[in-house]
């Protein structure tokens, strides 16, 4: 009995000391991300935040992007996981937000949500309850990146119309320059190529018609655009069906190809590998002069708060800090990646160009609209365009296959 009492007393004293210690110590937040390459930037941001909020400290931890979702899901399912989480958007966000792992954010808790355009908040909104679950961090656009020096040496200019693009590729080929560095061996590259080259041909109206169900993917606008893509693909990297993402990047970085159809996120990457590159960007060429010129836009993801965290106040403070124009400016200028926050000051000329192009955009269609169910629009588009460009099916067949897959769950197509 005596022993029990002693143990109990000891535990009580120990507990008191521990809790007193905790009260004095800083609140330590953990913050998970898949952006290992941005670590220096985030550590700098954290330093600034800690200077502003001395009683909070933040620990930044990264995981490989291909495993991030798995590791995060497993941790959250086990009731653990970080306090602040970098999450992706759209369908990917839903798989984490639906089971209730994320804290819903509103304008009371995070007044800074007013700093974002609606389309950015929509990317981090759960369709089921209409609530925002994360503070968006980057706008991505699909466009054509080109090597200014090669263009100048060949005496050509960025094209306005599709015919000009065709003439441009012929001029480059005549000078023995590979026009496009792109290859189709990596499945998701097919989706970025479609968006980068064909958005202006599809048009905003096409997206509206798809959403309302007035049109589906067998629409002539879509089929004709695919046919144009098939024609222009003769200007991709040699043996492009076997050229994967990394090899096509290398071709462009080494200055062996003039253009790269892909994401604006490539620019920083290209510059990082070869700082001497002088790059420009242009939006997908239009079918005929006077048509609206568009790029495809989506949002990468956001910063969310773990619903189960016991450090909610501190986590919210940090997330609010990541939603300020000052943060957006630092993010954009350091990472050369466009922040969606309104009122940021962009230093870099090419990022300014991207921001300007982003004013006139349609959605990066399959990601924004059709990544919520199986078979996802992205998977269908990727594999069928891959097959189309390999010469194994016609544009009509590719469009029909894509449509058939989406129609299995998309009500407007089932009429």
């Amino acid at each position: 009995m005596k022993l029990t009492r002693r143990i109990l007393m000891g535990a009580a004293v120990g507990g008191y000391i521990l809790s007193a210690g905790a009260a004095m110590a800083k609140t330590e937040l953990t913050f998970w991300s898949w952006r290992q390459e941005d670590k220096a930037f985030y550590q700098d941001v954290i330093k600034k935040f800690e200077a502003k909020e001395p009683e909070i400290s933040v620990k930044f931890e990264t995981y490989a992007p291909e495993n991030y979702q798995t590791i995060l899901s497993t941790a959250l399912a086990a009731g653990r996981g970080p306090d602040v989480i970098q999450v992706r958007a759209y369908g990917n966000l839903e798989s984490i937000a639906t089971p209730g792992y994320l804290l819903a954010l509103d304008k009371q808790a995070v007044p800074e949500l007013a700093n974002f355009p609606d389309s950015a908040l929509a990317a981090e909104t759960l369709r089921a309850d209409g609530k925002v679950y994360a503070v968006p961090f980057a706008t991505q656009t699909m466009l054509v990146v080109y090597n200014k020096k090669i263009f100048k040496d060949a005496g050509v200019n960025p094209p306005q119309t599709w015919d000009e693009l065709v003439a441009l590729t012929q001029a480059l080929k005549a000078k023995n320059i590979t026009p496009f560095a792109n290859g189709t061996a990596t499945a998701w590259q097919n989706e970025t190529i479609v968006a980068a080259l064909l958005s202006s041909q599809l048009g905003k109206q096409f997206e509206d018609d798809i959403v309302s169900g007035k049109a589906n993917f067998t629409d002539p606008r879509f089929v004709n655009a695919l046919a144009k893509l098939k024609d222009i693909s003769t200007n991709f990297a040699p043996n492009f069906t076997g050229v994967d993402y990394a090899s096509s990047q290398q071709l462009f970085v080494a200055g062996r190809a003039a253009m790269f159809a892909g994401g604006s996120f490539e620019v920083a990457n290209f510059k990082g590998q070869n700082p001497s590159l002088d790059l420009g960007v242009f939006a997908s060429p239009v079918a005929k002069a006077g048509d609206e010129r568009l790029i495809a836009r989506y949002y990468d993801g956001g910063y969310a708060v773990n619903a189960k965290t016991d450090k909610k106040d501190a986590a919210l403070k940090f997330v609010r800090f990541l939603a300020t124009p000052d943060y957006g400016t630092a993010f954009t200028n350091t990472l050369k990646n466009l922040s969606p926050i309104k009122g940021i000051k962009i230093e870099d000329a090419i990022t300014q160009d991207v921001a300007k192009l982003a004013d006139n955009s349609m959605s990066y269609l399959m990601l924004v609209r059709f990544r919520y169910q199986e078979p996802s629009g992205s998977v269908l588009l990727q594999s069928n365009v891959q097959k189309l460009l390999a010469g194994q099916q016609t544009p009509e067949q590719a469009a029909a296959e894509i449509n058939k897959g989406i129609a299995t769950y998309y009500k407007p197509f089932q009429k």
Binding site: E66, Q69, T70, S73, T74, L76, A77, R88, Y90, G91, N92, E94, S95, I96, A97, T98, P99, G100, Y101, G183, T184, A185, T186, A187, W188, E191, A237, P238, N239, F240, T241, G242, V243, D244, S247, L251, R371, Y372, Q373, E374, P375, S376, S378, V379, Q382, S383, N384, Q386, K387, A390, Q392, G405, T408
Partner: protein, 310 residues
């Protein structure tokens, strides 16, 4: 009650056995049996992301095997696993047998070759996959460069991007990686054959081919059994080489898709299909597990019967 010395000894013996047996049983149950059973249980529920939903009986199994969306994908992948099994049986195990025979005859430098053949097995699969991806690069890869340099330009191909060669390329890369293992097992099997049997056959004037076919091959049957069983399990669990070389989607357009990739995509999602479906993933894993266990046991029993005792 007094305990006789004999009873005490039995008790001591029993507790000693328990002391030895209980920890591994607990360990195995916790880390092997429990996860398998829980994966089995997961397969009967609907999952919303990672939250377990309602009990749905066999619905996940039905969707995985016969569903309009999953069914064709799974059967397409299954077919590729079967191709891989057959091709690897011939190239990897057959090649291993021939290599073992060459090494068994102890040609000049056989000690070096014995090590050299086994070295790729020791390499990480990730490295081997990456290496072969570089070799097969259509524009600067070793394979096409070699073909160009000897004037066989017509044979150069975008190996991993061409639907007709991509799966074959993965199989060859896998065979290159693992051929050392069957070689080693067969070599050990050959060295177990009493030398008088081979000498007797030689004295009778058998040809090399007859010796190989009628003497050596039947006598290394136990090695064949174990190698075939292992290959069977490996071929249906095939994941690393396809994952590294063609990605989660089984590029190009599903022509290299295998069950391991389908399982991973279904359960954990991938970059272009964000949906994570633990229920269907678990159902697929369960079906695959049962298939492998049942067939591997049947195969082993069948192959055992044709082994010769000596």
């Amino acid at each position: 009650m007094p305990v006789s010395p004999k009873q005490a000894r039995t008790l001591k013996h029993r507790s000693w056995v328990a002391f030895l047996v209980v920890p591994p049983i607990v360990f195995m149950s916790l880390f092997v049996v429990y996860p398998i059973l829980s994966a089995f249980a997961y397969a009967f529920y609907e999952w919303r992301g990672l939250a377990r939903g309602e009990f749905v009986g066999l619905a996940n199994f039905k969707e995985v095997l016969f569903g309009a969306t999953m069914g064709p994908v799974v059967w397409n992948a299954f077919l590729h696993n079967v191709y891989a099994l057959i091709a690897l049986m011939i190239i990897q195990n057959g090649g291993g047998f021939l290599l073992a025979w060459l090494l068994y005859k102890e040609p000049f430098g056989f000690r070096f070759h014995r090590v050299a053949v086994f070295v790729p097995v020791v390499l990480s699969t990730i490295i081997v996959g990456f290496l072969w991806k570089l070799f097969l690069n259509p524009n600067f890869g070793l394979v096409n460069q070699a073909l160009y340099s000897v004037g066989l330009d017509a044979l150069a191909k975008p190996w991993l991007g061409d639907a007709s060669t991509a799966l074959g390329a993965l199989i060859l890369a896998n065979a290159w990686h693992f051929v050392g293992f069957p070689t080693l097992v067969y070599l050990a099997g050959m060295q177990r054959i009493p030398s008088e049997i081979i000498e007797a056959a030689r004295l009778d004037g058998t040809s090399e081919w007859q010796l190989l076919k009628n003497v050596v091959w039947p006598l290394v049957a136990p090695s064949t059994t174990i190698l075939f069983t292992l290959l069977f399990i490996g071929a249906f669990n095939w994941f690393e080489i396809p994952y590294v070389m063609v990605g989660l989607d089984g590029s190009p357009y599903g022509t290299t898709d295998v069950l391991g990739l389908v399982f991973y995509r279904t359960a954990f999602g991938n970059q272009s299909a964000s949906i994570q479906n633990f229920g269907q993933g678990s159902a697929l894993a369960t079906v695959l597990f049962l298939f492998i266990v049942v067939f591997a046991s049947m195969l082993t029993l069948w192959l055992r019967r044709r082994e010769i005792q000596f």
